[in-house]
């Protein structure tokens, strides 16, 4: 299965990745190879198996509404690329 250059560009945009044309071509081949690999599973006869997104036959895995510990602010923002006054700080969302 061959991914088009446009499809790769679209996925990169959604993933917030800035890629050069070379990289786009490179990843188009790589991603296509991965999809080809995964495509092998299409060969398995699953006509008698209902589709599921879950690998375990579970339902209603829930917890009681009881308080737990939260992280202190310093820990919450510790790994942020940028923080200020306890907030995460990112580049302005609205750019005109």
């Amino acid at each position: 299965m061959k991914l088009s250059i446009e499809e790769v560009r679209h996925v990169a945009e959604l993933a917030k990745l800035e890629l050069s044309d070379d990289e786009i071509n490179h990843y188009a081949l790589q991603l296509s190879a991965i999809l080809d690999y995964a495509e092998q599973i299409q060969g398995v006869d699953t006509s008698s198996v209902p589709p599921t997104p879950y690998v375990l036959p579970l339902s209603n895995v829930m917890r009681d509404d009881e308080l737990g510990e939260c992280l202190p602010n310093e820990a919450a923002v510790a790994n942020a690329a940028d923080a200020k006054n306890g907030y995460f700080r990112v580049r302005a969302i609205f750019e005109e």
Binding site: E13, S59, D65, G68, Y87
Partner: protein, 498 residues
């Protein structure tokens, strides 16, 4: 249906579908154990690896949020899905650190419900509920110069989204629908109803069409208005948007499918800058959250926990207690008010028009005192008043028993409101009991006649409208304590028996 703009040839009417987001009143967030009580707290102090979206953190559903959703679905006459599934709604925005919002998508918890609203002409209209599903709230962005500051305290709050069909056909219907929906959510105890604090948020989808387009089911382009933080704002935005769209179309223009905001100061909608380009959400089932399977037994058990809802109360007040419709609606709209009213009636009595008399005291004098209190003018304060419903019943009984008259009772109520004392005690201590003793009244009348010989002569000469003057004098002489009935009767006798 409301006609909203008269163009030379074309009249447009408005059509609205509503999206309502209600934060559920749970102790903890939807998928983690962080506290939901974040209002006013410093940023990012109610977060953990799950709601921060740290790699490897796994969500676990809050049963209380699921149950609150099912209970709401039952109250809104919805079908409760046997299987509900959470999905990932993928998009990149800093208020959602995971890069996706977890939300029930293809298989929501509740579907195909309805809510009846009362229109001003006394008729009832059914607004259909398309679906009600559970999702997580996002964080809060504050835009400041070249930067955006992100607070994730709100991220992961359980959020119930209720979506109506486009059945709302005027700003007033929208107002009535939201008023009733909010009352029900509060009665259920699933939402605070605080629109100002963002705990309840409404986004109307507004379009207009002509009668011909309506006949062909040819819908107009929808405009969504966001950030409406009061019922009045919702009503205002729909009215404004309906008029704007009719004008654009009347001038031969086209309606753009956009998001608008509401400018409270200028009472108009304004175009919102849109989020980033691609709205390709690539929904897929959340593999970390197994499906919610709801048995009929579970639904039954939850249905049994529903309180009596406002509609049922309103009908009971009218039918069993003979309340005027307007009072029945006022007193049933807020559960704490209804509780107070019912407790007062239980003490006071249900016979002989008593519930209506009690309704008058509560919606008249007591509401006036609450509103005059200046503490944000919220009728829910009624549950925290110093004067309890039994005490109010005691006061009104004193009026019935002619111990005090209505005017004195209002003054006593004000004192009770401040001190929380019983009416009887205040009346005794301050000597407010009504004077119906004819001896005392006779004495007062004699003194008034002596002091006002002119007026007396004119009255007896046929100027009978002076009766009011004498009556006022009697009330003043008895410091307002005279039993008005007894005093009036005796005064009439003494005036006529020259």
């Amino acid at each position: 249906m409301t006609a909203i703009a008269e163009q030379p040839q074309t009249t447009y009417s408005v059509l609205v579908g509503m999206e309502v987001h209600a934060q559920l009143l749970t102790n903890t967030k939807m998928f983690c154990r962080c506290s939901t009580d974040y209002q006013g707290d410093p940023p990012n102090t109610h977060t953990c690896p799950v709601c921060l979206g740290l790699p490897g953190a796994l969500p676990v559903m809050n049963r209380a949020a699921i149950e609150a959703t099912i209970r709401t679905g039952i109250a809104l006459n919805c079908e409760i899905s046997e299987t509900a599934v959470f999905a990932r709604k993928n998009y990149n925005y800093p208020d959602l650190p995971k890069g996706y919002q977890i939300s029930q998508y293809e298989l929501p918890q509740c579907r195909n419900g309805w809510l009846d609203i009362e229109l001003t002409d006394g008729s009832t209209k059914r607004i259909r509920i398309h679906r009600a599903h559970l999702e997580e709230d996002t964080g809060k962005n504050t835009h400041s110069g070249n930067y955006t500051l992100v607070d994730l305290n709100r991220a992961g709050m359980p959020l119930l989204e209720i979506v109506t069909e486009a059945d709302i056909e005027s700003p007033e219907e929208a107002y009535a629908f939201l008023t009733k929906l909010r009352a029900i959510l509060r009665y259920l105890g699933v939402n605070s109803g605080d629109m100002e604090k963002g705990a309840l948020r409404c986004e109307p989808n507004i379009s207009v069409w002509t009668a011909e387009q309506k006949a062909r089911s040819e819908y107009g382009t929808k405009v969504e208005v966001k950030n409406l933080n009061s019922l009045r704002a919702v009503r205002g935005a729909i009215a404004y948007e309906a008029e704007r769209q009719a004008e654009v179309l009347g001038d031969g223009g086209v309606i753009q499918q956009v998001n608008m905001g509401w400018d409270e100061v200028n009472q108009r909608t304004v175009l919102q800058r849109s989020k980033e380009s691609s709205e390709d959400y690539r929904y897929f089932p959340e593999p970390d959250l197994p499906p919610v399977v709801v048995s009929p037994e579970w639904v039954e058990k939850l249905a049994a926990t529903l309180p009596e809802l406002p509609d049922s109360k309103r009908q009971r007040y009218e039918n069993s207690w003979g309340l005027r419709p307007i009072d029945a609606e006022t007193l049933s709209g807020e559960q704490l008010v209804a509780d107070y009213f019912e407790a007062a009636v239980v003490t006071y009595g249900t016979d002989d028009g008593k519930p209506q008399r009690m309704a008058n005291w509560i919606s008249g004098e007591l509401f006036r005192l609450i509103y005059a209190d200046g503490e944000g003018q919220d009728l829910r304060q009624i549950s925290e008043l110093k004067i309890g419903p039994e005490q109010l019943a005691g006061l009104v009984a004193l009026v019935d028993e002619k111990v005090i008259n209505a005017n004195t009772a209002k003054k006593v109520l004000e004192k009770m409101y401040i001190s929380g004392e019983d009416a009887q005690k205040i009346v005794e201590r301050e000597g407010l009991a009504m004077v119906s003793d004819t001896g005392v009244i006779d004495e007062a009348v004699a003194a008034i006649f002596a002091a006002n010989p002119d007026e007396l002569g004119r009255y007896r000469g046929g100027e009978v409208r002076l009766f009011g003057f004498f009556m006022g004098q009697v009330m003043r002489a008895t410091k307002g304590k005279a039993d008005p009935g007894a005093a009036k009767e005796r005064l009439q006798e003494l005036l006529d028996n020259a």
